[in-house]
């Protein structure tokens, strides 16, 4: 792709200042996203994937969390330079987000119609009240809510889990944003409902030509919905690339181990490959490469120096000494 990216993140660092010390939740993350493209950010809990996304909409919990350095360019503008009022206008109009748990994201005391219309009310161009109701019904219809004319008067508890998540999707796409962030949108849903929702998400993305950032710990979801993937480990992106390349020929030992550790539907039963140890404590990171204590291929050098990010085939990047020394 040669067009300018809609979103580009350069060396983003988000730290949390706690009594126990500085937690480097996101520590030098860079990626870019083009119009209509979907990027999956995958990793285990605590690897910084959610904080990366909260940084993109500048909703990192303050004052503990601070975006320490880096740039987030949306259509060429660095959103870290915007004031709160300008940022508020960006949210929903240019960039919007679907969160993990639909029940806690919806206010139980207001009707669905009321809450969805809020998304339109922030829009300066929106029309009269009557017009508003029409818009709400239209957007609910677009996410396959049956009988939206009647359901707008219902409260969140009257909706099933899958429908609540679709309502949130409706709120997120209400004003045709250019970038949609979905943070583990299907973790609270059953497999068949997850399947429905992911297919709806793909369809919406194609229809509205949105760029999609999909945060998930489930690599299967990445394979199903994304064009490119970034694998995160302990606050850093260790590997990026097209989904087909990363899944078939993972370059980083962590990615490789993750793939091997997954039980697969279409494979003969055998003992699973296991990654020894546990993800590092972000307060007390190992020196050098963060994965080396668990890595089977670690070398002397990995212990002292963080490997440089080097480009590999199909526009991918990887941060590993193995690849830079040409052994891969």
């Amino acid at each position: 792709m040669n067009a300018k990216p809609v979103l580009s993140v350069e060396d983003l660092r988000t730290y949390f200042y706690t009594r126990a010390g500085v937690v480097k939740a996101v520590d030098g993350v860079s990626f870019s996203l083009h119009e209509g493209e979907s990027l999956g950010i995958a990793g285990e809990s605590g690897c910084g994937k959610s904080i990366t996304c909260l940084s993109l909409v500048r909703l990192v919990p303050q004052p503990a969390g601070q975006i320490v350095s880096g740039k987030i360019l949306i259509e060429g503008r660095n959103i870290l330079d915007l004031d709160e009022e300008e940022m508020r206008r960006m949210r929903g109009e240019v960039i919007s987000m679907i969160l993990q748990d639909p029940l806690t994201s919806l206010n139980p005391c207001y009707t669905i119609g009321n809450q969805v219309s809020e998304a339109f009310k922030l829009d300066s161009k929106s029309g009269t009240t009557k017009n508003l109701k029409q818009k709400v019904i239209k957007v609910l219809k677009s996410v396959n809510i049956p009988l939206p004319e009647q359901r707008v008067r219902d409260y969140p508890f009257q909706f099933s889990g899958g429908m609540r998540q679709r309502v949130l999707a409706a709120m997120a796409i209400a004003r045709n944003p250019k970038i949609l962030i979905a943070d583990e949108p299907t973790t609270s849903l059953d497999v068949t409902i997850q399947d429905q929702f992911l297919k709806l998400l793909k369809e919406m993305q194609a229809r509205l030509k949105m760029a999609l950032v999909m945060i998930t710990h489930d690599l299967g979801i990445v394979a199903q919905t994304c064009d490119r993937v970034a694998i995160m480990y302990a606050g850093k992106i260790v590997e990026t690339g097209t989904v087909s390349r990363v899944f078939q020929a993972p370059a980083h030992p962590y990615t490789e181990a993750l793939m091997a550790a997954l039980p697969k539907m279409d494979e003969k039963r055998k003992k699973l490959f296991q990654i020894e140890g546990e993800p590092p404590n972000l307060l007390n990171l190992p020196k050098g490469c963060r994965f080396w204590p668990r890595c089977q291929k670690s070398m002397e050098r990995c212990r002292y120096e963080y490997p440089p990010v080097i480009p590999i085939e199909e526009g991918g990047e990887v941060a590993c000494w193995l690849c830079s020394s040409g052994e891969f």
């Binding site: 285990e44 809990s45 099933s160 899958g162 059953d190 497999v191 068949t192 409902i193 997850q194 399947d195 429905q196 992911l198 297919k199 710990h217 489930d218 690599l219 299967g220 979801i221 394979a223 199903q224 989904v243 087909s244 899944f247 078939q248 181990a257 993750l258 793939m259 550790a261 997954l262 039980p263 697969k264 539907m265 279409d266 003969k268 039963r269 055998k270 003992k271 699973l272 490959f273 296991q274 990654i275 020894e276 546990e278 993800p279 668990r294």
Partner: protein, 351 residues
């Protein structure tokens, strides 16, 4: 081989108050609606299904935490409902459980060593000396790979994987014959999940345990189980050897469930349409076959008559009026993906 646990036509209804205080209107929530299966000694039986399908209610009935409305549950040939207090104590040494969320199943105010020791003290405290109990406790922590320096800690000081190891140690310290695992790894990260699954398989082989695993993660079930039952709204729709069910799923629901699982190989991503609708209402389930409103192959009879579990051409039990047709439909479509392999080393070992 003899059956360790047998369920014969088990029902569980929960009464629900619909409205009114004096003149109450009641309804029955049919959580488990006529289920029979048996688990052989040394087997690893999996129950799959979406939330609300009744899998956890079954485990609660087996653990004597709920009483079945109708039907019989037999453990080593003895009827659970006829147990007296003494037999219940004995039964609880034979059957143990591991819950989904280790963090909330461990008492936050008790040290790890005491948590692991507790079942022994409760059950055999009179016949074992303190040192014997301590030895058993240490042996268990070695078996589950828990570092000794963590034994004096409290649960919150452990990571998720270690907490799950504690839960496993606590469950197996009495050397039970049946262990019920309710979503044992769904709360864990991918890299930890493989460790725990391998550990569970390892322990099963070492101690000769029988597992009943309840999970919604089909890929995991395929890896671990030898038999599997697929549940939908309180019924088992397909039951048989894991390999047979995964290689030739017959019931339309099983097939839809398998298709809904995301594949890890991008080229394999299929474009089968998503299953429409949502799981039915257990208070007022659909007539006939409970799956028929969501089934694309439904015919008139599915609307009126409930199918029963019957032997299908695929070599396992299926509850579908069109089981034979379904087999033809699948072979005509030349099913693109096969979900299993014919031979399987673990079943052979267990036999």
């Amino acid at each position: 081989m003899s059956a360790l646990l047998e369920l014969h036509d088990v029902y569980k209804f929960f009464p629900i108050v619909l409205s009114g205080v004096i003149k109450r209107k009641m309804a029955m929530l049919k959580a488990v609606d006529g289920i029979s299966f048996s688990i052989e000694k040394g087997a690893c039986f999996g129950l799959a299904g979406e939330s609300g399908s009744g899998k956890t209610t079954i485990s609660k009935m087996i653990l004597l935490l709920e009483k079945n409305t109708r039907g019989q549950i037999l453990f080593e040939g003895k009827d659970l409902s006829k147990f007296n207090a003494k037999e219940i104590m004995w039964y609880r040494t034979r059957v143990q459980t591991i819950f989904q969320d280790a963090a909330s199943s461990l008492n936050p105010r008790i040290r790890i060593c005491d948590i692991i020791r507790e079942p022994l003290e409760v059950q055999l405290g009179k016949s074992l000396s303190k040192t014997e109990i301590n030895n058993r406790m240490e042996e268990m922590s070695r078996l589950v790979g828990l570092p000794f320096d963590k034994l004096e800690n409290y649960p919150h000081e452990l990571s998720g994987g270690q907490q799950q190891r504690v839960a496993i140690a606590r469950a197996i310290i009495l050397h039970p014959s049946l262990v019920i695992l309710d979503e044992p790894v769904s709360a864990l990260d991918v890299s930890i999940r493989a460790q725990i699954l391998n550990l569970l398989i390892d322990i099963q082989e070492k101690q000769g345990l029988t597992y009943l695993i309840i999970a919604h993660d089909l890929a995991m079930l395929k890896h671990v189980t030898t038999q599997i039952g697929v549940m939908y709204l309180g019924n088992i729709v397909e039951l048989g050897d894991t390999d047979s069910v995964f290689s030739t799923p017959v019931h339309p629901y099983t097939r839809a469930l398998f298709d809904a699982v995301p594949h890890y190989i991008p080229e394999r991503v299929e474009t089968t349409p998503a299953l429409k609708g949502e799981i039915g209402d257990p208070i007022n389930p659909p007539s006939g076959c409970k799956f028929h409103p969501r089934c694309e192959y439904a015919i008139d009879i599915c609307n009126t008559e409930a199918p029963t579990l019957m032997q299908s051409g695929a070599g396992h039990l299926v509850s579908c009026h069109r089981a034979d047709n379904m087999l033809d439909i699948h072979s005509n479509n030349k099913m693109e993906v096969s979900y299993g392999e014919e031979n399987d080393s673990r079943t052979q070992q267990n036999n």
